[in-house]
């Protein structure tokens, strides 16, 4: 399975996302923001960082990168896409996910080891977890406060599209403690904490982040025939 990791100017956790995908057993393909070709990858990770220096708004410029035009089309066709931190912000700006990530309520960048509860295992990126499972992965952001209007929030809850929630403390003031959400089809997931930083005993607080990457490999293995027939670029 080939997982593509996009590098925008200002991407920072791209190498870490690539390492995590590799540890999970994937072949990693590095994708460049200016190249619309996805090089036949089976899934895409939009990594954390400060794409384009967060100019204008986090993710607002990245959304218009040539590679994103292809990714948006492919995601609508079912390509699994995981947006982490800045990647989540880009997915919201690209309207693949609803809502927005705003400045942390306490106005500080915050980096800590954060407990989450996995609320939905029906996505391409969380099917290897069990429902309600509590996991520990680092959070680190300055603009990670998830907001949406009440109707959207209610809809996300009703459709089981809240993928993970902050527990034992909300690090940024996100509405309804939302840490991760998915689209209607469950192939696109945006998450504010960083699973790619919890994949090795030596460097992470746990190995819980690995589940996101093994999940997509499992999802892809289960849908190989369909994917080939569909041919998502």
């Amino acid at each position: 399975m080939r997982i593509g990791v996009v590098t925008f100017p200002g991407s920072l956790d791209d190498g870490d996302a690539a390492r995590a995908a590799r540890i999970a057993g994937a072949d990693v393909v590095r994708l460049w923001h200016g190249d619309p070709d996805l090089h036949g990858v089976d899934a895409v990770v939009l990594p954390g960082g400060f794409s384009y220096g967060d100019a204008l708004r986090c993710g607002a410029i990245a959304r218009f990168a040539p590679v994103m035009e292809t990714i948006v089309d492919a995601a609508r066709g079912g390509l699994p896409v995981l947006g982490i931190c800045n990647g989540f912000q880009i997915l919201c700006e690209a309207h693949l996910l609803p809502g927005a990530l705003t400045r942390n309520q306490h106005l500080h960048f915050r980096n800590r080891d954060q407990f989450l509860r996995v609320e939905s295992t029906d996505t391409a990126w969380t099917n290897n977890f069990t429902g309600g499972q509590e996991i520990l992965i680092p959070v680190k952001n300055g603009e990670g406060c998830f907001v949406a209007d009440e109707r959207t929030l209610d809809q996300l809850e009703a459709e089981g599209r809240v993928v993970a929630r902050y527990i034992r403390g909300n690090p940024n003031g996100s509405q309804r403690d939302i840490a991760a959400i998915t689209n209607e089809a469950g192939n696109v997931v945006g998450i504010m904490p960083h699973p790619e930083h919890a994949v090795e005993q030596l460097t992470g607080p746990s190995l819980d982040g690995l589940g996101f990457f093994t999940s997509v490999l499992r999802a892809l293995a289960g849908s190989t025939a369909g994917a080939q027939a569909g041919g998502h670029q």
Partner: protein, 858 residues
Amino acid sequence: MTTQPDTSAAPKQTGFAATDVLVNEFDGGPDTVQRASGTPEELQPHTELGLKDDEYDRIRQILGRRPTASELAMYSIMWSEHCSYKSSKVHLRQFGDKAPQGTRMLAGIGENAGVVQISDDLAVTFKVESHNHPSFVEPYQGAATGVGGIVRDILAMGARPIAVMDPLRFGAADHPDTARVLPGVVAGIGGYGNCLGLPNIGGEIVFDPTYQGNPLVNALSIGVLPVERLQHKEAAGVGNVVVLLGARTGRDGIGGVSVLASATFDEGAEQRRPSVQVGDPFMEKLLIESCLELYDAGLVAGIQDLGGAGLTCALTETAAAAGTGMRVWLERVPLREASMSPTEILASESQERMLLIVTPENLERVLAVAEKWGVWATAIGEVTPAGDDGSPGRLVITWNDHVVVDVPPGSLADDGPVYARPIREPADLILLQADKAETLPRPSTGDELRETVLRMIASPNLCDKSWVTEQYDRYVLGNTVLAQPEDSGVLRIDENTGLGVALSVDGNGRFARLDPYEGAKLALAEAYRNVGVTGAEPVAVTDCLNFGSPEDPAVMWQFAEAVRGLADGCQQLGTPVTGGNVSFYNQTGAAAIHPTPVVGVLGVFDDVARRIPMGFPAATGEGDLIFLLGETSCELSGSEWAWVTHGHLGGRPPKVDLEAERRLAMLMARASQSGHVSAAHDLSDGGLAQALVESCLRRNVGAKVALPDDGQSAFVHLFSESAGRALVAVPRGHDKAFVALAAEYGVPCAALGATSAEAVLDVRDQFTLPLDEARTAYEATLPALFGGVAELANRHGDPEHAADPTAPASPDRGDEVLVAAASGAAMESAAPVEADGIPAASVAEVKEPSPNGDAPTA
């Protein structure tokens, strides 16, 4: 010859500049060499630029005429204390003279940063530098560009920067100005380092009134490079092209090193704000990636970063290092403001710029790499030959065909003035040393000791620093094995072999005030010990020497003593000083700061998996055994206890035995190889009591201990700050082997007790302290002092810059900040506060989510 994503913008730059010849501040054009020769008597503002009369006379002598305005600016910059080390040079030579032989150093003092080989094919480069003055004037940008500057030094050596650390010193924690400076400094370090993608893995946060008007903001960076990628700054190869890479040049930072960093503060420091640079970490990230791609493609013949002293420094140093000349066309420099004069272009300290020397045939490829990353790259000059008679070449700079500079580059870079300044022991030192803390009233009963422990762990210097360190990304790049609050930052360097490094940076201004020679050694000993207790082998040193005015003989004596102490210490430990920085003039008015040598020590792991963390591991069964290593004497002078409980500073600092430190580090390295130690924590500020509390709280594991029965009182055992000590946890079954090993290395080893599943710190016959109670005391201090400032500042409008004093200055802005700070201080006693529509509950809720049990990072 300029590339930029929007290439149409490039030619406009020179177009604008050309039209400005007639509308600048000079009468009829710039001050040219020709004009200078014809107007020898014209008065020049050399004093305002920081040059002494005799220094000015020497410039005239070198040039055989008066300098042009641009030349005068360049000499004032390069001969400033900051660039020329004119007061410190005669002392710093000891680092070379006393350097231990047979070390792994590939590049040392005089380079942008020292380089140390750590395996057959890999090397690391690291250096600590000061950004004190800019950070006081403009905390956010001052601190941010401090990070940016040190990272470019690392980059210039051919390395990929892989981490930063920040030793910080502020005035009293509850002083209103600290509430202005600290949040800005922390936000600046975080804002820059986080956006650059560099983990912040450690540092220090110290409060002391001595730093009230002169906070110390030091920044350390470390990078890694394949040995063969080591870069040099020489502008070698006649005919090679001089390329300016990175951000465009603006008016920021003019006078930064000559006026700001090389003079004493007085009234009106805020008027120097324009002398502080403004950082753009996004540009620096692109600059890093472009340079690394250029190195790997072998396209760089020479490289130098532009930091303090900007283009002036980069041009003269690269040319002087090679002995060549250089011809520069200044109008080719891409500008932010087209109306800049040649003098301003040469003096600008605009950030995120590098100077490259490339061969003509590689120029197109270099420009293409810059264009890929969206970075400006402009050919601004070429390397010219040395004189026919073998004399060094000349640096000739024109601006729209006017020759504004024609100088021998070596006269700027190497031949600056050198002073053997008068030194005299401070008149008050004898009295100060006679006023010992060992005679102060002490707590004696168990209850008194318990209260003292609680008071100490809640004091600003000993309390939990998460409020600060949570604003830094410690995970990015995925190689952080240990980060603050651990004793050292530990990084994995090679994923395949497990090769890694440990880094610690320490200093103690109080000890150095009492005895600068011993104080410098103590700083070295502490950093060395911090690296040693993780199991790493300490190999090299960097230093940042923060002192008052060198024109004060008492300060100069402190400096001379500290350098001598550090050089002697490094010689004894076999760890060479690879580079560093001197920061003088840290004083406001007549009051100098405590002499503050800050020392960074680098250690190496053959396999980083054997690193030893500081927290006691979760207790299973009977728990791990706890031992105290080293010898405890009654040493309280200069201690945190004397300061916190008596506001006392006097006496002599603890004795330092570097041979004992060396044996302790060797023992820990050996023990980590055999898995004999599950946790280790060095003893320093606050002594054993602090180390016990921190080791327990790290993973919420209790400990039951009994203090050694050796004649010393319980109080001395708990609060003495004797050097050369560490607290270790040893898994049962390993204790006999460990004790034997300690004996083999001659390290005193006393059994204290064991870790416990019960979450209490129990000191037999003295007191019992539940960890919850300790945690509350330990964690509440900084949020109470600084937690409210950002929320309150937010009321003034712009949430983007609430904790960021870089917002456009308005006449009453200073007052606003003070109002916010004062309110913040008030919150200490009355939190949570309901402030202007922010419900108390929501402030508290967002500010302090419940702790998650302080999950360890490893």
